[in-house]
């Protein structure tokens, strides 16, 4: 009997110890493996989506340069899943990787609420290397830079040369850009011209979400004013963007009734169902991934009516890491101009460092989908002329409300006014603490 008791106690004790160990393990799984015998320092990165460092061979290169460093990455597919976990980990200061990526839609919130948990990287990265607005986005009011920019998303318009030609529009990228230069209304007008002779079954643009995203990204102020107040409801630029998109979406043949990044939208890319789309550099990679082989070379890139920015990320280093110095060094190296140029060449993530724009990897960049279009130069021009946009902590929630609960409703038969009211109601409820 006593023996049995001992066994049970031992089992309970092991179970308990296992649980405790399980909890404890969490904290230092990202630490160095000093007892591994190799003497190597492991640096872990928490990333989302396809950021491409690994694909571009940057880890291998860094490990070759620094033989005592091992790099491991942990990738979550979608930022919607990645970001809540990141916030959770930051607030509890546990379970963090040595380097954590932050999306531009979240950077203002992280800078505002989590700066105390993050390393000041202004001593590690060189401010003069980066686009001014990119550096500012990750810098707090008291001058702490919490993240180094990896890439930006200077916006252009990608269009199908074959469909434009069939509809009787010019196909030369300079002429196309001239058609709508300076005004988003003109872009919609070009759409109306397209519609007159459009090849059957195609629309001018793909989705209301893509259009409103492009228009809003070219505004200096959209959802917040420079003092940090929420102004999306009263900002005439936001309402104008909404109304223009809604008007275009309501006209049959101008804007397809798709939601971006869902499987049905992918299918419209594969089937060449639309002629133009808002197009940051990373979108070319997406188009390439979803297109059929015969679409290769049929796309081209023209400057957008007004330059804007869609997307981009930052690398931040949590203070709780065990190798913050090494991590900061790696983050600075990964985001330095040379590496960003390589990343663009392989992955299509556009550099946030103007120095890279002169490098052959960027100037000579080509994409299978756009043939010999000098995409590096086009996007570099857009990046330099993008406005220094005011970004706020809840930008993502507002943007999502405007598109997913707003303009998309117009394609489902609601009036622009109803759609706006639904969007506002949803956003206000989501912002209300």
């Amino acid at each position: 009997m006593r023996a049995r008791k001992a066994v049970v106690l031992a089992a309970v004790a092991t179970l308990g110890a296992g649980l405790l160990a399980g909890c404890a393990d969490d904290g230092d799984s990202d630490s160095n493996s000093s007892d591994g015998g190799s003497g190597k320092t492991t640096i872990t990165l928490g990333l989302f989506g396809t950021m491409g460092f690994k694909e571009a061979g940057l880890y291998d290169e860094y490990m070759k340069l620094n033989p005592d460093i091992t790099i491991k990455e942990n990738v979550v597919e979608r930022n919607e899943n990645y970001y809540p976990a990141l916030v959770n980990h930051l607030t509890t200061d546990s379970g963090l990787m040595d380097i954590q990526a932050v999306e531009v839609g979240n950077i203002a919130e992280v800078a505002k609420t989590q700066a105390a948990k993050l390393l000041d990287l202004s001593k590690h990265g060189k401010e003069s290397d980066y686009l001014e607005w990119k550096w500012k986005q990750a810098t707090t009011a008291d001058g702490q830079t919490i993240g180094l920019g990896t890439d930006v998303g200077p916006m252009a318009i990608c269009y199908r040369k074959d469909l434009f030609e069939a509809a009787g529009l010019p196909t030369d990228r300079a002429k196309v850009a001239e058609l709508w230069s300076g005004d988003w209304e003109k872009l919609v007008d070009v759409g109306r011209d397209y519609q007159k002779n459009a090849p059957k079954g195609t629309t001018f643009m793909d989705s209301p979400g893509g259009l409103i995203q492009a228009i809003l990204s070219s505004e200096t102020e959209r959802f917040y004013d420079s003092s940090g107040e929420v102004i999306y409801k009263t900002n005439p630029a936001v309402k104008a963007a909404f109304d223009l998109t809604a008007a275009a979406a309501a006209e049959d043949g101008l804007v397809g009734n798709q939601t971006q990044f869902q499987p049905a939208w992918d299918t419209t890319i594969a089937n060449s169902k639309f002629a133009a789309m808002s197009c940051p550099p990373w979108m070319l990679g997406y188009i390439k991934g979803k297109s059929k082989p015969e679409s290769a070379g049929k796309w081209d890139v023209a400057a957008a009516p007004k330059s804007g920015n869609w997307g981009g990320s930052f690398l931040a280093v949590p203070k709780s890491g065990k190798n913050t110095d090494e991590a900061a060094k790696l983050a600075a190296w990964l985001t330095a101009p040379e590496q960003q140029a390589k990343l663009f060449e392989v992955q299509g993530s556009f550099p946030s460092t103007p120095g890279a724009y002169e490098m052959p990897a960027v100037t000579g960049a080509k994409n299978d989908m756009t043939g010999d279009a000098p995409i590096g130069e086009i996007f570099a021009e857009a990046a330099k002329s993008s406005p220094v946009q005011v970004i706020g902590p809840k930008d993502q929630i507002i943007q999502q409300g405007l598109t997913d609960n707003g303009v998309v409703l117009v394609t489902q038969g609601k009036s622009a006014e109803e759609a706006w009211e639904t969007a506002v109601k949803t956003i206000d409820n989501n912002l209300d603490q």
């Binding site: 509890t92 049905a264 299918t267 929630i397 639904t422 209300d432």
Partner: protein, 338 residues
Amino acid sequence: MTTGHDTAAASPAKGGAAPGRPPAGAPETEREQRRRARLSRRWQRDVRWSPYAFVSPFFLLFLAFGLFPLVYTGWASLHQVELTAPTDMNWVGLRNYTRIFDDDFFWNAARNTLTIGVISTVPQLLMALGLAHILNYRLRASTFYRVAMLAPYATSIAAASLVFVLLFGRDYGMINWALGAVGIDNIDWQNDKWPSQIAVSTIVIWRWTGYNALIYLAAMQAIPQDLYESAALDGANRWQQFFHVTLPALRPTILFTVVVSTIGASQLFGEPLLFDANKGASGGSQHQFQTLGLYLYEQGWVNQHLGRASAIAWTMFLILIVIGIVNYVISRRLRASG
């Protein structure tokens, strides 16, 4: 465990007679007595406390992962608190609860939960009953059918929902393609209210029907065969046998599955979350299939309002308790009448 009685019987020997020479057969020194007493105390403690030690793992885990979160959620629901700074709490009393009363999104979610619950649970249990009845006959390869019925249940919700999203696609989905073949126009399964709720329910039905059918089948096999024989002798056909023998005998089982399905339906989360093309938690562009679970998740993890989310969680908890009481009352009535 009779040790307690043994030592209790031995103790009078200690007190009575003067400590003379211990009997030759059982030499008991004082040391020996102390040892026995110590052992006896230890056994008594053992008998008394060991059971608690044995059940303690459950209670410790329950305290850590059940009770504490419950209480803490209640505490958080009385505050304005954001996920970005969970320690920074701002007392607001019952405000999070009172505003639920005029929160259109909450009531919309509650209505959706109810309607999706009904259109998924009712057909599901009826179909399960029918399937169980069929499987209860002697069939060739019956084990195969039984295992096959459980296959959807073993599939992960995520995988299943993703496939259903493709099937229910508006432009390129297989279901609309099939409907088109018989002349029905494309249905927007994502964005129209009833189609989207039916689509979400379909995922639930697909997943749980087999599971419930197996429960019914088990209960059916416990019904004595003589009942059917005598019913047959009285001239009842199979349909009448089902109605007058099988169904009454299954009443407790049906009640059990209704309770379990109701609780499952009120917590519906994964299917509508994954069915949303925007990969958000708003349950469609007009919140047309946002359930309470999804709304709670949206407030807490997307919008980062922990206080509001906690209040929603507690309100859901109270609703579940009410449902539980209603079920209890109904089942007592049924039992009394049966």
